[in-house]
């Protein structure tokens, strides 16, 4: 059994990176491996937006990540600076920056790049998408 940390750099839509990352997580878990964290960086932070609203016949990556996190108790971490640059805010970020709205859902927590580095140290393997 291996301990993985997953890095998602691809946008919630327009790139298949996020879907491939999710598929990898599901396969790894089904085969008895452990995912210690999914870290969203670069355009990957858009996966955390609760305001993504694809048509009913499309894949809802945001909701898929939420389900995975809930089912297997896997933390989903956004890089906070990458997120702020792209208009992805938690309630606290919105308050602190005087913004009228927030969009990152509760299933995702904001963190620093340090959490990615510490995760890499603790994991057997980092897989980036």
């Amino acid at each position: 059994m291996s301990k993985f940390i997953i890095q998602v750099n691809g946008s919630v839509y327009g790139s298949t990176a996020s879907f491939r990352a999710l598929s990898f997580c599901q396969s790894a878990l089904a085969n008895g491996h452990q995912i210690i964290n999914v870290f969203f960086y670069q355009d990957g932070v858009t996966n955390s937006s609760a305001l993504t609203c694809p048509a009913s016949d499309e894949i809802d990556m945001h909701s898929n990540w939420q389900s995975l996190s809930l089912q297997y108790a896997i933390p989903l971490t956004n890089c906070v600076s990458a997120a702020l640059r792209r208009g992805v805010l938690s309630p606290q970020d919105a308050t602190e920056n005087g913004k009228p709205q927030w969009n990152s859902s509760d299933a995702f927590t904001m963190g620093g790049l340090g959490e990615l580095v510490v995760g890499i140290e603790h994991a057997d393997r980092l897989i980036s998408f």
Binding site: Y41, V117, R125, L126
Partner: protein, 118 residues
């Protein structure tokens, strides 16, 4: 501590990929990981002197490459083949870096614990 190789593949200005990769490189070095950097493909263009990224609406992250040694990032490899393809000469590089053949990059990747591509 793990040994991390961070590869830059994208040209300056067109994407923010290298900028965010550089953030990661410096952060992980400050967390006392052993960090090496590789410039390949169009990313070698980051090493040309006299760039003005602000004119293209970008924060001047290019000049931050000069600070790599302050973060104890001493291994900076540049792909010789990519330089030839893009017409760059060794004396045009704006930072201290080692120009190497692709095989040396392959060797560095094989020796690393983790490889991150930006």
């Amino acid at each position: 501590m793990k040994s991390l190789v961070i590869i830059f593949r994208h040209a300056p200005l067109g994407t923010t990929s290298t900028r965010e990769g550089l953030d990661f490189a410096m952060l992980s070095a400050s967390f006392e990981q052993q960090v090496s950097i590789v410039f390949t493909n169009e990313a070698v263009l980051h090493l040309l002197a006299g760039q003005a990224p602000e004119q293209a609406g970008s924060k001047d992250y290019v000049s931050a490459f000069k600070a790599l040694s302050l973060y104890d990032i001493d291994t900076v490899l540049v792909c010789a083949e990519s330089m030839t393809t893009l017409g760059l000469q060794a004396d045009e590089l704006s930072i201290s870096a080692t120009i190497v053949a692709p095989q040396a990059i392959t060797d560095a990747l094989q020796a690393a614990d983790e490889v991150l591509v930006f």
